[in-house]
């Protein structure tokens, strides 16, 4: 009565004279449909939710690996109530880290959206060598972030041997130690370099979905360049910009590689964002499990706020597609 993949075909059931209620047949069909989904679902569920629950759990405990290193996952550490969170509130580090995360994310996304838009419009216009331009343009996004950050730091920004201080020396800006004097600006610059191609790709896809006849018609009707950009192009690519900005911010919020390579969170805490603070407090030297977990909880809350918007945008784009 069963097909090879375990589904019960209603017609077969009837022919066989087996009385099976419609409800149980439907239930069986639902499980047959779920079967291929289950391995992936269970895998993702276990590997993401167990650590997530443990993070919340540990955030209520006092546990420092340096002092209680031998203690196991569930014993040997003291319940601390909300102490870890109270410490976070009174300790300036988390406030600095949240502020740095916001500054970094907002400026990287804003600048790379504007630059990405400009480059996308260039690549969408009549220019020579479009294909090659696009190919070269996406390279910064593909380069390993740790490698890119090192190249910027040691061969471009380096005050002694770097190219940038050399090129800027005629303007009286030679030998400036960019990374140490403007740490946040350096991190932002390197991240903008990396994320502009990402924005460019998404916005370019939006521009290419535009019907050129509409723009031409607008020009015939006497619309200027600025006007047709604001009235026609911008509304059209807006969902693409939103998608790029929100997906991008979910990644940039987690920036770690370039901070580790460029500034190591410093000088002081000037470029320490949330992931980096968690690293410093936790596996990067502090080994304070309770405290690091509390920072993790804060990171989740911030991400949920951003992600709520991101997912709404993603779904609205899917709805637009479905209507087509």
């Amino acid at each position: 009565m069963k097909t090879s993949n375990g589904t019960v075909l209603p017609s077969v059931v009837e022919r066989g004279g087996v009385r099976e209620s419609a409800a149980s047949a439907a239930r069986r069909d639902a499980w047959a449909r779920r079967l291929p989904l289950l391995p992936a679902f269970i895998y993702v569920f276990l590997v993401t939710q167990i650590p997530f629950v443990l993070t919340i759990y540990y955030s209520f405990f006092r546990w420092n690996l340096l002092k209680e290193g031998s203690s196991s996952l569930f014993s040997g550490h003291r319940f601390a109530g909300l102490d870890n969170f109270a410490t976070l509130l009174t300790n300036g580090s988390i406030r600095t880290a949240v502020a740095n995360t916001v500054i970094l994310t907002v400026s990287v996304i804003a600048i790379s959206v504007v630059l990405g838009m400009a480059v996308a419009m260039l690549l969408n216009s009549e220019v020579f060598g479009k294909g090659l331009m696009r190919t070269l343009m996406i390279a910064p996004f593909l380069i390993m972030p740790t490698a890119g950050a090192l190249i910027w730091k040691d061969t471009l920004f380096n005050p002694l041997f770097g190219l940038l201080p050399y090129l800027l020396s005629p303007f009286g800006l030679g030998r400036v130690d960019w990374v140490n004097r403007f740490p946040m600006a350096t991190v932002v610059a390197v991240e903008v370099w990396r994320w502009t191609p990402f924005m460019m790709l998404i916005i370019l896809a939006g521009l290419q979905s535009q019907n050129p006849e509409i723009l031409e018609a607008a020009q015939v009707d006497g619309a200027g360049a600025v006007q047709s950009f604001r009235r026609i192009t911008l509304p059209l690519v807006r969902p693409f910009i939103e998608l790029g900005a929100l997906l991008g911010s979910l990644f940039v919020v987690q920036t770690y590689d370039s901070i580790y390579m460029l500034t190591f969170g410093g000088p002081g805490e000037d470029t320490t964002n949330i992931p980096f603070l968690l690293y410093i407090v936790g596996p990067g030297g502090g080994y304070n499990i309770g405290q690091a977990s509390a920072i993790g909880v804060v990171a989740v809350i911030i991400t949920i706020i951003v992600a709520t918007f991101a997912l709404r945008t993603l779904f609205s784009i899917f709805r637009v597609e479905a209507r087509r």
Binding site: F41, I50, P51, S125, I143, A147, T155, G296
Partner: protein, 275 residues
């Protein structure tokens, strides 16, 4: 006549502007390659050396030195996790697109929400679990974690490709009594080859370049290519050419894959939302 002339002039003008912008963005990559082809004194000279006789000495040193094990670890972690993503993700995408499970939308939402949980929030427990399971500094731990990172993206992306297969094909196959496995191998896999390529590409990019878990969960035996580059941080003095050569080699697989599969890149990065 007048019109074509100004049109041509504007094309030249915008081309020049465009190429200048592209040059600025591409320059650090080009500079990385050039630095790798210099000798150490040339790479650490003031003013910077612009014209020089290229040498492959530093590349040779990187490839014959301590770098290859890191590169191999990266390959194991990325290829292993990519295969796992395809094996787990394709049936899941089937169950979300072809014969959708009840509340498929919620399942999709669940998958993608896990991708955007901050890495930081799971680092501490994963570190402790790895410690207690003796998986610290074990490449297997990275394979498992990268699979988790990429599976949500893979499911979304594969689903978007599966939705494009006409339903008639499956109905015809079902009339012929084809089972799930037959449908996957005979219909799905051949028809969504570009989708499998796009998914592999995205998985490769994210796992090859991943640093946060790699640097925190490995130290020497299982350390990957980005972790190798950490050793250059403190490298004051004469290691810029070697650094640039190592950075070039470390970046090469993803750069090549991304360039070859450019068309799939945008779709992969937006999880199928933008084609």
């Amino acid at each position: 006549m007048r019109v074509t002339l100004t049109a041509n002039r504007s094309k030249v003008l915008w081309s020049v502007v465009g190429w200048l912008v592209v040059f600025v963005f591409f320059f650090p990559v080009l500079w990385m390659w050039l630095e790798g082809l210099k000798t150490e004194p040339q790479a650490a000279s003031s003013p910077p050396t612009i014209f020089f006789a290229p040498t492959l000495a530093e590349f040779r040193e990187v490839l014959s030195g301590d770098f290859p094990p890191f590169f191999i670890n990266s390959a194991i972690a990325s290829i292993g996790s990519t295969l796992l993503v395809l094996v787990l993700g394709l049936p899941a995408a089937y169950a979300l697109a072809i014969r959708p499970v009840p509340r498929a939308r919620d399942a999709l939402f669940f998958f993608i929400s896990t991708r955007f949980l901050p890495f930081a929030a799971s680092l501490v427990p994963l570190y402790l679990l790895a410690r207690d399971l003796h998986l610290l500094d074990n490449i297997f731990a990275l394979v498992l974690i990268y699979t988790t990172i990429n599976l949500p993206l893979g499911v979304w992306l594969l689903r978007s490709f599966l939705l494009e297969i006409p339903n008639d094909l499956f109905e015809a196959a079902r009339v012929d009594g084809a089972g799930f496995r037959h449908e996957i191998w005979r219909i799905v896999v051949p028809l969504i080859a570009p989708g499998l390529a796009a998914t592999s590409l995205i998985c490769l990019i994210f796992s090859w370049n991943e640093f946060f878990y790699a640097v925190n969960l490995t130290s020497s035996v299982a350390a990957t290519a980005p972790v190798f580059l950490v050793s250059f941080i403190s490298g004051r003095g004469l290691f810029y050419a070697k650094l640039a050569a190592a950075a070039t080699v470390a970046s090469l697989p993803v750069l090549m894959a991304g360039w070859i599969a450019q068309k799939q890149l945008i779709r992969g990065l937006t999880m199928g939302a933008v084609k």
